[in-house]
Amino acid sequence: MSALGIETAADEQGGPARPRPRRAGVALAGFALPVVLAVLWEIAVRSGFANGRLMPPPSVVGATLWSLAASGELFTHAAATLWRVAAGFALGAAAGTLLGAVTGALPVARGLIDPTLQALRAIPSIAWVPLFILWLGIFEASKVALIAVGVFFPVYLGVAAAIQGIDRKIVEVGRVFRLGRLAMARRVLLPAILPAWITALRSGLGLGFMFVVAAEIMGASEGLGYLLVDGQQLGRPDTIIAAIISFAVLGKLADGLLVALTRPVLAWQDTARDKL
């Protein structure tokens, strides 16, 4: 009996390893289209079919990226952008988690706070910018505040919904085992909302990157968004595209970092894991 059990267990563990090569193949297939398009564009520009002034070929963009990186400029800009996103994300995620938990757990708080927050959510966040600049000045504080606002709402909504959606049946098991308030929160409620919370943080992070672009375009002396504006004013599409690529890479890396950090606590999930 137990030998049989061990066998099946080993089988299960060996199971997920098998499709991996195929998954890698799919991931590589995803690169095919952009690579082919890039190569075609490169050929078109080099052979004189297209002029490539407004849409520089990959080699030019690559060279620009390289020179920006070599001069240390790219690093300065990326660091400035990352710092703003990190600060805004930390503030927004903390506030969103806290308020989401409070309104999710306490109906009274939900009745009091949620309508106001829903109304505020209806305001396009960029509309806050003039006010933030008046209140907080044109430097870092107003940018971080804008990003925090962007991060706040998805986190708030996700946490509140997750808490309200906790399965009553599983909470009852906690009651049967006579868990106190604290133990119930730690051993049942927290693990139950963890997946939804992490999903909320990820969409918050995505919005954080969206808003840092807005904040930096509207006035900054450094940052990848500044690089965008600079490229526009100097008529350098290669700089703009280099900045766009940097944004994409940074966003993907930050999301990947969040996923990697939270992977251990979500090991029990199967469906969501495969989607990531």
């Binding site: 009996m1 137990s2 030998a3 049989l4 059990g5 061990i6 267990a9 299960e12 049946k169 599983i170 009852e172 098991v173 009651r175 049967v176 085992f177 006579r178 051993r187 049942v188 693990p191 139950a192 963890l194 029990w268 999930q269 199967d270």
Partner: protein, 260 residues
């Protein structure tokens, strides 16, 4: 001893799930509750577990009124209700957090072997079949050695073989520590196999219709004529409990017949 005194439960929407149930369950007795769907069996179990409050009457366990879940009462629900974020072993050991890791591990391993899941300790609940999950839930409730064990159709999701083997395990465990057991079942054969007494309930409002003392000595032979006879007697009572339930429906049918 467990006793119900004119126990009633009316839900917030006005459903009378239980009405004046009075019953005594002796220490160490296995009591089976059978009855048609919706006659308040789950409601009664939830009241005993302290998960709901009665609307009237009370439940006494060793002279103490039950108002909330108690440490010495184990519950097995109709569904497995495992924590998906805990491994099989961690689920089983959920109620043993006061013990040292070493002690806990020993008890958990032992409990898993007893339900036929030895070697599955480190798997996730999602990797188990429905029946295996229910067996983990059974192990989780039994591992704390409760004085009173409440089971809501614990075996209904299992195949006949597994069910028979778990009946054996349950009786073996019961033989060791003699807990009082109150179990709900739809399966009359299961009731006759396990229970000392079988209570037939009647719906709308839920109440006790009849009670049978099981005359068969353990171990019970399912193929013996006496077993068959006991089974038939309870089936007949069940039948009556359901017919008595709807005399006006019958009348309605008659009038309908006249109209035609």
């Amino acid at each position: 001893m467990l006793s119900f005194e004119t126990l009633s439960k009316t839900y917030a929407d006005g459903t009378q799930a239980l009405s004046a149930v009075t019953l005594d369950v002796a220490q160490g007795e296995i009591l089976a509750l059978v009855g048609g769907s919706g006659c308040g069996k789950t409601t009664l179990l939830r009241l005993i577990a302290g998960l709901d409050r009665p609307s009237a009457g009370r439940i006494l366990l060793d002279g103490e009124a039950i108002a909330e879940p108690r440490a010495d009462v184990g519950v097995i629900f109709q569904e497995p209700r495992l924590f998906p974020w805990l491994s099989v072993a961690e689920n089983v050991g959920f109620g043993l957090s006061h013990l040292s890791a070493f002690e806990r591990e020993g008890l958990v391993t032992n409990a898993l072997v007893r339900v036929g899941l030895g070697g599955h300790d480190r798997r996730w609940p999602r990797e188990l079949s429905g029946g295996q999950q229910q067996r983990v839930a059974i192990a989780r409730a039994l591992v704390t050695r409760p004085k009173l064990l409440l089971m809501d159709e614990p075996f209904s999701a299992l195949d006949a073989t597994t069910r028979a083997s778990l009946h054996g395990h349950l009786l073996a465990l019961w033989g060791e520590s003699r807990p009082t057991v109150v179990m709900v079942t739809h399966d009359v054969e299961e009731a006759v196999t396990l229970a000392d007494r079988i209570v037939v309930m009647q719906p709308k409002p839920g109440r006790v219709f009849d009670a049978f003392d099981n005359p068969l000595a353990r171990p019970r032979d399912r193929l013996s004529p006496a077993f068959e006879a006991a089974k038939r007697e309870i089936l007949r009572s069940l039948d009556r409990s359901l017919r008595d339930e709807a005399p006006h429906q019958q009348k309605a049918a008659e009038t309908a017949g006249m109209w035609w």
